[in-house]
């Protein structure tokens, strides 16, 4: 509190000629000041690195890693502060604290869509001097690109996510199908399987279509796999009104929502969509890598051992696309322990740590070398099998105002697919105009 302490000092000076009656009040006030000062002193312990993280699914894994770090670096203590589980809520906490130049956060996580925002706002430390190009080449290219903004790098990838296509191996085999390569093929196979199984509660497809960030990922995958996109490569023109994008969105509205997938998916996030699949009520599912472990856990899943996984289908004549996800370590620009923070981040993103996170938390490494490791291939063969999807993964629009663009996209997609009679081109027109205005606002910051 730099502003507060300035005022406090002024009060003390003028306190010299205060009437005796008011002395008690003054005494109380000064006691309070001393108290505040003391607590600030306490917060500035030497060599303590504060790591603000989201609430992890398996906290014990992260605790073990930090314990190891303490053994290797006895002079540094890591204090963990746990924030909310959801990415959006965690974003609100992190931005609030960094916006206020809060020096009590040293290291934090960034979702793959945050680096441009955190770089432009000046919250994330520019790591280019510490994180050499040569070192960067050890990592998968997509997450490195996502952490780079105007030629500088702001985060070190911890683990990677990408949209994957899960299917019921047993059902496909029973009807003599190979995993579908196109969306149309998926629908045809689904029709045959549904007729054959005669189970009224069985659906063809399950995914995430609620009005939230996940909707953007799912819909972009449909648009990309039809050859469309949201922004042009220079990120200054909106391409939502292109016929390719319109066609992909209309396909989802007419053939997925309430058809291949239950109507309820428009209120589904990841857990609900996975639930349908592991209850044996969907033949195909779009989800992130974490779903593999859950779907094959006999305690939670009715389809354990009957699950296959691969690349998402595409439209005929186009190639599959999956949305890039994952988390990065970043260092706050207001941190007073840069060297200690850097050592901690280096440790957490080392080959050894990434292996441990993969084995114990099931998270996919971002270092390419880990995928060649024999122990890795033996213990988590499925992560190795996901590698093609990780290499193909595409980032969502890169913008320092991504949260605004995402809100517009969520609104547009949700309106377009929820109502069977929606006027997709008109909605796309409106969304494009709104996103163009956001881009204009961003352009104001460029010289």
């Amino acid at each position: 509190m730099p502003i507060g302490s300035g005022q406090e000092r002024r009060d003390e000076k003028s306190g010299m000629n205060i009437e005796p009656v008011k002395r008690k009040v003054f005494l109380l006030l000064s006691l309070g000041l001393i108290f505040i000062g003391a607590s600030q002193l306490g917060a500035q312990q030497p060599k303590a690195v504060t790591f603000l993280t989201w609430k992890p699914n398996q906290p014990e894994v992260w605790d073990r890693l930090i314990e190891r770090f303490h053994q290797e670096h006895p002079k540094i203590r890591v204090q963990v502060q746990v924030g909310p589980h959801s990415s959006t809520e965690y974003h609100a906490i992190v931005t609030q604290r960094l916006k206020n130049k809060d020096a009590s956060v040293d290291v934090f996580f960034m979702d793959v869509i945050w680096p441009p925002e955190f770089a432009s706002a000046g919250w994330a430390l520019d790591l280019t001097p510490r994180f050499s190009k040569e070192e960067q080449r050890q990592f998968l290219t997509a997450p490195i690109a996502a952490n780079t903004y105007h030629g500088k790098i702001y985060g070190i990838p911890s683990f990677i996510d990408a949209g994957l296509f899960y299917y019921r191996k047993d059902l496909l085999k029973k009807y003599g199908f190979d995993p579908p390569r196109s969306w149309m093929e998926m629908l045809t196979q689904g029709d045959v399987i549904l007729k054959g199984e005669a189970d009224p509660s069985l659906y063809v497809y399950s995914g995430q279509f609620k009005q939230y960030e996940g909707l953007v990922c799912d819909m972009l995958e449909f648009i990309w796999s039809r050859g469309g996109t949201v922004l042009n490569p220079a990120a200054d023109r909106v391409l939502l009104t292109d016929p390719t994008s319109i066609e992909a969105i209309t396909f989802v509205r007419d053939h997925i929502i309430g058809q291949a997938a239950p109507k309820g998916v428009v209120n589904y996030e990841e857990p609900e969509s996975l639930e349908l699949f592991i209850q044996g009520r969907a033949v195909f599912l779009r989800n992130w890598p974490y779903a593999w472990t859950v779907a094959n856990d006999p305690d939670k899943s009715k389809v354990a051992g009957k699950v296959g996984v691969g690349l998402l289908p595409a439209f005929v004549g186009h190639s599959s696309a999956s949305a890039l996800g994952g988390w990065q370590f970043a260092i706050s620009r207001w941190s007073k322990h840069l060297d200690e923070a850097w050592q901690f981040v280096q440790f957490m993103t080392s080959t050894e740590s990434q292996k441990m996170i993969a084995f114990l938390a099931g998270r996919a490494p971002t270092r390419m070398a880990v995928y060649e490791d024999p122990e890795f291939q033996e213990k988590v063969p499925h992560l190795k099998a996901f590698l093609p999807a990780f290499e193909k993964a595409r980032p969502r629009p890169m913008s320092s105002l991504y949260p605004m663009i995402s809100q517009e996209l969520q609104r547009f997609f949700s309106r377009a697919i929820t109502n069977k009679k929606s006027d997709v081109p008109a909605l796309a027109e409106r969304a494009s105009a709104n996103i163009a205005r956001v881009l204009q606002m961003e352009a104001l910051t460029r010289p």
Partner: protein, 295 residues
């Protein structure tokens, strides 16, 4: 002497005033000032220029804000109407003397005592399309007939409204019950002697005398309903297709998710002004009538 007393009374109310100024006055002024600037927290290069009423001007032309306004109006009017009607029924019921009345009165308060976030989560599970109790209660094992309540825009709004009615009717009941309890028992006895039936006793004694309490409940409920946020936030996040995107939720998204502090503040200040106007109208018209008639 009088001046001294006056001074003492000022001293005595000053702590309360201070609390009001610090916790209500200051944040309101802060919000108003934020709403007059262009503040985008992820673009500090833009500084925070004073833009006058530009945010409000933009708000007037914002189709989503207009939509959110109507969603809020529908929510406020339907929830208030049903909460007062149900609250009156409940109050009449628990006002009668019967064995176990104390227990029932306590039970009526349970929905009100549950934190909104918890009850919203509960309703979200109840309305679930695949394993929700509501579908099970209506359709049993006929899974194909299950309705995805929260997936249809109209029904999603109804679901949020229902959850609010369930939760706050008991609060209205409590206020109305207080009104019922001050009606003297003699009036009913006299009416019975005159041969008035149940309906006439209600219409000529209970209704006019309980009306002031009803009006107080109306005031509380409309103002409170305008501020709805948590129910929609937990149950639907404003979706599907913005069907439950109430104004406060829209403002929250602008401010904390998009980081557009100025514009978000303009939304919350607008809600504040709407509530303020409503409160003034109530206190002026309803309050005067309430005083005259009840005396």
């Amino acid at each position: 002497m009088i001046a001294k007393q006056h001074r003492l009374s000022l001293v005595l109310i000053s702590p309360a005033l201070l609390v009001l100024v610090v916790f209500i006055g200051a944040p309101v002024i802060q919000s108003v000032s934020l709403s007059l600037h262009r503040i985008v927290i992820s673009l500090p290069q833009l500084q925070t220029p004073f833009v006058g009423l530009a945010n409000y001007q933009e708000l007037l032309h914002d189709a989503v804000a207009r939509h959110s306004f109507w969603v809020t109006i529908v929510f406020v009017s339907t929830t208030t109407f049903f909460e007062l009607a149900l609250g009156l029924l409940l109050a009449l019921l628990i006002h009668r003397r019967f064995p176990g009345r104390g227990g029932l009165r306590a039970c009526v308060l349970i929905p009100w005592a549950i934190p909104t976030v918890v009850s919203a989560q509960m309703w979200r599970f109840l309305f679930n399309d695949a394993y929700g109790m509501i579908n099970y209660a209506i359709f049993g094992h006929r899974v194909t007939a299950y309705v995805p309540w929260l997936a249809e825009p109209g029904m999603a709004l109804c679901a949020v409204i229902l959850a609010d009615i369930w939760k706050t009717s008991s609060f209205a009941a409590l206020l109305i019950l207080a009104g019922l309890q001050i009606i003297p028992e003699e009036l009913y006895q006299a009416a019975r002697v005159d041969g008035a039936g149940l309906w006439r006793r209600f219409w000529h004694i209970t209704w006019p005398l309980v009306r002031p309490a009803l009006l107080v409940a109306l005031l509380f409920r409309t103002i409170d309903a305008f501020r709805v946020f948590d129910l929609a936030f937990v149950m639907t996040q404003g979706g599907p297709a913005d069907a439950t995107n109430v104004l406060q939720l829209y403002g929250y998204k602008k401010m904390f998710i998009e980081g557009w502090m100025g514009y978000g503040s303009a939304i919350s200040v607008s809600v504040f002004v709407m509530i303020l106007i409503l409160a003034i109208v109530y206190v002026r018209i309803v309050g005067r009538r309430l005083l005259e008639k009840s005396l």
